[in-house]
Assembly symmetry: C2
Homo-oligomer: 287 residues x 2
């Protein structure tokens, strides 16, 4: 089994290392070539283009920044589409607009290439631990066949047809945004009422107010430190995708809308590089 | 150790039973006397007034519906204040406006009676299991002394001075409201995108989107059943208390405000008796 990997960023690099250790990794490609040194030192082929990386692979994984980057590495002049074998599967693990995933899939299918979208949640820590939540969209048999590859990086769950992985990720990002806002408003009230934030956390964490976002981010609020983690600017990109998708589907999401507006303002005010839990700081400023 | 218990409602009755089984229960009082049959049959005194119940007790627990009920049973004509011994402790476990708790505490302290506010989270299930989250406000030594009583019903955490328990409960209810809205918006988008709701849940539950509210309430959304649980009308009461408190403290809570507006409209439209997870249904109607 040959897996080529395109996109060795914060998430991609540790994911590719898991595939290497499993003995699946074939070739890698990254725009900034130096990021591939780990694999070069171990004798792997570091390709000069996505097209080169895809040639001869059974599975080609892409994980890049946004919709246009995905289009570039798959459909662009030096894209995967020009060399991928009939019957091979492209697994896009980027977080993009799911409607674009559907379009890409159609283009690939015309050439006998399979496509699934499989964005992830769990952050850099999850990628390093090989414990990502992987939300998978695609045809049943294609997804089933790719599971052995995905399981090396985390826990894949098949949520529907192509594009569904992306929609699940958007649903995920809606929830995370609202959970962070929940924490922000609750701890803002508590602070003004002179409650001890850590004791409050201990008092509520096991009840219906408990959440993974609270467990992972409450220390940021307590310590006033917003080292990312996951940047406001990236969450804003996701919420922009959410609202584009909502618009296309005719769905009204009133609170997501509000929080997107908050993050847009944070971005404008120079808070884009902070962890997204800094929604708390933003709310403090609005008092 | 003598503990008298006032208020044998959905929450109070199972809580009092735990105290009975622990050998702590002394006398009980409830407005509707028939609710006390369990204790009458077991030879306990069922008092005719809160005042009667409080006489001779070391600890007097009150858990009733709202601020004015608490004022009535503690400060009213037949209230606890007229018979409670100097040095005894009144533990109010109702969910009320924390500023009222502070006022009640001052009145009691003048007569040498201690007061702590200790509202709970965890619902009827938590009460029956003796596993409530108990948020406690009061002076250090008074809280410490009362812990052996509270531990029979759940896990007490001391969050600050008198009133802090109530503020912690309000913070808790903010978070729960936003978590339910998070789920509503995420699953509304997912539904329109033809995702399978149960698969979506499995895909996201272990990541940063995971929450106790999601775990406990997703089946309501999947099955379209909104048997309470916790009623919209009660959560609305709590959010009204939140916004009153926020107003008094000069705190701006933009999203809590919005969701209080949603619940007010739900109440007006006859959805007040449904479980609060019906925020999802309300959002469906707005599409």
């Amino acid at each position: 089994m040959n897996v080529s990997f395109i996109g060795l960023g914060i998430m991609g690099l540790p994911m590719a290392k898991h595939l290497y250790r499993a003995g699946y990794l074939y070739k890698v490609y990254n725009r900034t070539r130096a990021k591939a040194d780990y694999f070069l030192e171990r004798g792997l082929e570091v390709s000069h283009t996505p097209k080169e990386a895809a040639a001869g692979a059974n599975y080609i994984i892409t994980i890049v920044s946004n919709s246009s980057d995905v289009e570039e590495v798959i459909l662009g002049r030096n894209g995967v589409i020009h060399s991928a074998s009939r019957g091979s599967t492209i697994i896009d693990m980027s977080s993009i607009n799911p409607e674009i995933s559907k379009q890409i899939s159609l283009r690939l299918n015309e050439k006998g290439i399979q496509f699934i979208d499989a964005p992830v949640s769990g952050g850099e820590q999850g990628a390093i631990a090989g414990k990502l939540a992987i939300m998978v969209g695609g045809r049943e048999e294609v997804v089933k066949d790719a599971e052995k590859v995905l399981k090396v990086m985390g826990s894949p769950v098949h949520v529907g047809a192509v594009g569904s992985g992306g929609y699940a990720k958007l649903a995920n990002q809606i929830m995370v945004a609202l959970h962070l806002q929940a924490m922000s408003e609750a701890f803002t009230l508590a602070k003004k009422a002179n409650l001890d934030a850590e004791q409050l956390y201990l008092a509520i964490r096991n009840g219906l107010a408990g959440s993974h976002a609270l467990d992972q981010k409450v220390s940021n609020i307590v310590e006033g430190e917003y080292e990312p983690g996951f940047k406001v600017s990236l969450h804003l990109k996701d919420l922009n995708n959410v609202l584009d998708a909502a618009n296309e589907l005719g769905v009204h999401l009133p609170i997501t809308n509000e929080i997107q507006r908050f993050m847009k303002e944070m971005h404008r005010e120079g808070m884009g590089e902070l962890d997204h839990s800094s929604l708390y700081t933003y709310l403090q400023k609005k008092q």
